[in-house]
Amino acid sequence: MNVDMNKPCSAPRTEKEFNLADESATVTFGNKLANIVKNELNHGIVVYLNGDLGTGKTTLTRGFVQGLGHKGNVKSPTYTLVEPYDLGEWQVYHFDLYRLADPEELEYMGIRDYFGAQSNCFIEWPEKGAGLLANADVTINIEYQGEQRKLTISSHTTIGHKLLLGLTE
């Protein structure tokens, strides 16, 4: 994983759309991402998660963390900014930057230490950390569609591209 955070990416950009019928579909989607990371990529991913309050960003992350073998709860990181999960071979860091005033705050948190080949970073409200976050392998946008959700995932790196190839309906 490249920690040079300002390097532009030249990998092919692809995009896929999924319809998530309910909460359990969101969890299943997170699960699928975990399976691809484990079985196909064998490399951690950086995911930027966009979506309004209540669209299921934390729910998707829960599916991912549990897909990598976490047995306990996945709590909202809103008040702690980051919730770490040490799952043996893999680490997952679940960020919620909603309450971050200035991206520079991330330096005080030691943000650079969180990115690495075996670590997976799921970042909610990434625009609040602009300039100090590692580049995303994929960006996920979740939108309201009545009570359902429309999820759009786009890739920005080779790893992200491979991840998308592994994702089927």
């Binding site: 909460e23 309004d52 309050l53 209540g54 669209t55 299921g56 934390t58 729910t59 829960r62 709860n73 996945v74 709590k75 909202s76 809103t78 008040y79 702690t80 900014l81 909603y98 309450r99 971050l100 005033a101 200035d102 520079e104 705050e105 005080y108 948190m109 309201y144 009545g146 009570e147």
Partner: protein, 337 residues
């Protein structure tokens, strides 16, 4: 014996002096809400810097309020966790250093133990054992309390804390941070029965909570409806009703499971009037009673830290010359005294 209490775990700087015989002699609180309001939440680094600015002046003020000097103190207690690490470090380093300089014992305190014991600052004190509901922006948990340091976690939120769900739903309703109390105010003009929100995890056994789904339910409702002023109030009403009912159902279940009749509520959300009324009702039906601290001791404060520190000081439990801030610190790992 008298002890100074220092609380800096999040966005309030709280300082107090507690006297074993006379109770709280003085307490002061500086809230950073205004500092953070522009950002819609607490900002860790700003919080730490603000604690640095406020802690020492507040200590001087409480000493002056109580007409005491450092020579009249027998110990210094400070919140050592859980909380934001930068914010905690301010209180820990100031507390430990003052104790060293004044040649007094230093007592690290668990923030949630402080909340649990806050009702002990009132005239009507619950006897052990009791069930405690700790409910705030960062925590929602049910604890069985058999004595100081004897805590059994009965259940907790698996996702969002109740206070967080309040603040986020308030935001969805267009209210400013921290929106919990404003949402409660808005709910006062809401109509009962127009919206029916779920009561998460009440249909299955166990004492865990989940509040993330209620926030989503509110979001879905807001997206579906024409949101005029009355509808805002009706959504606020239905949301608050669901949170209060859910907390009440689990409290009742915990009391029955533990075969206890005394319920303590603490933490910021315990100041909610509807919640207090509902819990009064369910405990009365069980022939029991609910205990809570005065509103200013429901949220973070120095008094509860001074009180909890005094209990450990009396038992001879102090820190060595080092200090450590522990951002994640499960309550049930504390030693009994």
């Amino acid at each position: 014996m008298r002890i100074l209490g220092i609380e800096t775990s999040c966005d309030e700087t709280g300082i107090a002096i507690y006297d074993e015989k006379e109770g709280i002699l003085a307490h002061r609180l500086y809230s950073q809400i205004a500092v953070h309001a522009d950002y819609g939440g607490v900002v860790p680094e700003l919080a730490s810097r603000d604690h640095v600015r406020k802690t020492i002046p507040l200590i001087k003020e409480v000493l002056a309020d109580a007409k005491l000097t450092a020579k009249d103190l027998d110990g210094v207690a400070y919140t050592a966790g859980p909380g934001l690490v930068g914010a905690l470090l301010v209180g820990c380093s100031i507390g430990r250093s003052l104790a060293y300089g004044w040649n007094l014992p230093a007592v690290p305190v668990h923030h949630m133990e402080g909340h649990l014991l806050a009702p002990m600052l009132e005239d009507d004190v619950p006897d052990f054992p009791f069930v405690a509901l700790l409910v705030s922006g960062g925590h929602t948990m049910l604890v069985r309390v058999d004595g100081i340091g004897q805590y059994e976690l009965l259940g907790e939120s698996v996702d969002d804390a109740a206070g967080e769900a309040f603040d986020k739903t308030a935001k969805l309703l267009g209210l400013d941070y921290p929106g919990g109390p404003a949402l409660a105010k808005m709910a006062e003009t809401g109509k009962k029965g127009r919206f029916k929100f779920p009561r998460p995890m009440t249909d299955r056994p166990g004492l865990d909570f989940s509040f993330s789904g209620l926030k989503t339910f509110a979001a879905n409702t807001i997206h579906k409806e024409e949101m005029d002023k009355q509808t805002h109030a009706d959504v606020a009403y239905a949301f608050q009703e669901a949170v209060v009912d859910t907390l009440a159902i689990k409290c009742k279940r915990a009391l029955l499971q533990c075969e206890l009749k005394r319920l303590v509520i603490a933490g910021g959300v315990s100041a909610n009037t509807e919640l207090r009324a509902k819990l009064e009702q369910i405990t009365a039906k069980l022939g029991g009673k609910v205990y809570y601290p005065r509103p200013e001791f429901c949220t973070d404060n120095g008094a509860m830290i001074a009180y909890a520190g005094m209990q450990r000081l009396k038992a001879g439990v102090f820190a060595d010359l080092s200090f450590k801030a522990t951002p994640r610190w499960p309550l049930d790992t504390l030693a009994a005294i």
